[in-house]
Point group: none
Chain length 160, copies 2
DNA sequence: TCGTTTCTGACTATCTTTGACCAATAACAT
DNA sequence: ATGTTATTGGTCAAAGATAGTCAGAAACGA
């Protein structure tokens, strides 16, 4: 298993169930995993972004720390936020993939639905000769349309 | 026996019995067969296509891998037909909606999934300043990508 | 021979890990 | 209070580790 994956699981285990936040010492964690401290930042930057549903806070100096907070909100709240604020008029594939992953995680949509959505906004789906900016705009529209359709379905939680 | 054939059998042996997917390291496999790594890609491209009933996933970088997933034949054939023949390089919204309706009817996808797909290929989702012909091409690509994602979900093992 | 299939290697793209240098904060000395 | 030093965490670019692509060479079959 990849080091990054191990660190990711480790942190997510700490965040399981009730715990909605953890506080860590970067150097300690790095030492525990026998890696460079900056590796921790890499993991946070690639797997604990706001789009993934996490907020990171930290402090330097003596007694410094890194706090990871898991954001909790209802499916409808999340959908409204994505549609009205987050997505805007353009979005990259990477960002879209993260947002969709988060929806699956929070069981707002099923894994299958998430995969369909990912496919719809993949670079492969948009592989036509138009500028990248246009693709990002198309992706944003597509995402918002799909999310709106989901919001209309008025579900409490995704079905298994 | 040809190298490609050997590699093909080797992989299919791993996939025989109950296993519905295998994960490989491209370089290791190439070393094992004493060939160029790209040979592996050739085998996958020519013998493990969706038509053949397989879907490939992979990741680069440290700890990278190639995963080969065997999908259900029944649904796979219909999807492969849609992907490779029915939907050409362009499709109108009306036609797409009709196809999606059929898939829902035949319970290949759920009603919710169908609505998400419709949203993704709706004229609203494609409301950007590009020629209509381009929109039909985009819709075709989007449909094919989504259908491929659905085929991928149809693993031999049980699913929801 | 000629067209197709197989195979390779050079080049490219992507993901991970590290290390050197930077920035902020706390603790301490004056 | 103020300046200095110790203690953290942050950034970024480079190196390492994989996989993908594609054009052309090689092998094969009709």
């Amino acid at each position: 298993m990849r080091l990054s994956d191990s660190i990711e699981s480790f942190i997510k285990t700490l965040l399981s169930q009730e715990e909605t936040e953890v506080e860590l010492k970067r150097n300690e964690l790095a030492e525990y995993f026998g890696c460079a401290p900056s590796q921790i930042n890499y993991v946070l930057a690639t797997r604990f972004t706001l789009d993934d549903g996490y907020v990171i806070e930290s402090r330097r100096g003596g007694g410094g720390y890194i706090r990871i907070v898991r954001v909790v909100e209802s499916g409808q709240q999340r959908l409204a936020y994505l549609i009205n604020e987050r997505i805007g008029s353009a979005i990259s594939e990477e960002e879209a993939v993260r947002l969709i992953g988060q929806l699956v995680q929070q069981q707002v949509v099923t894994l299958e639905e998430g995969e369909i959505m990912r496919a719809a906004v993949s670079s492969q789906a948009l592989a036509v000769p138009v500028p990248d900016a246009m693709k990002d705009a198309l992706r944003a529209r597509s995402m918002k349309c799909m999310l709106t359709a989901i919001a209309r379905q008025n579900r409490s939680a995704a079905k298994g």
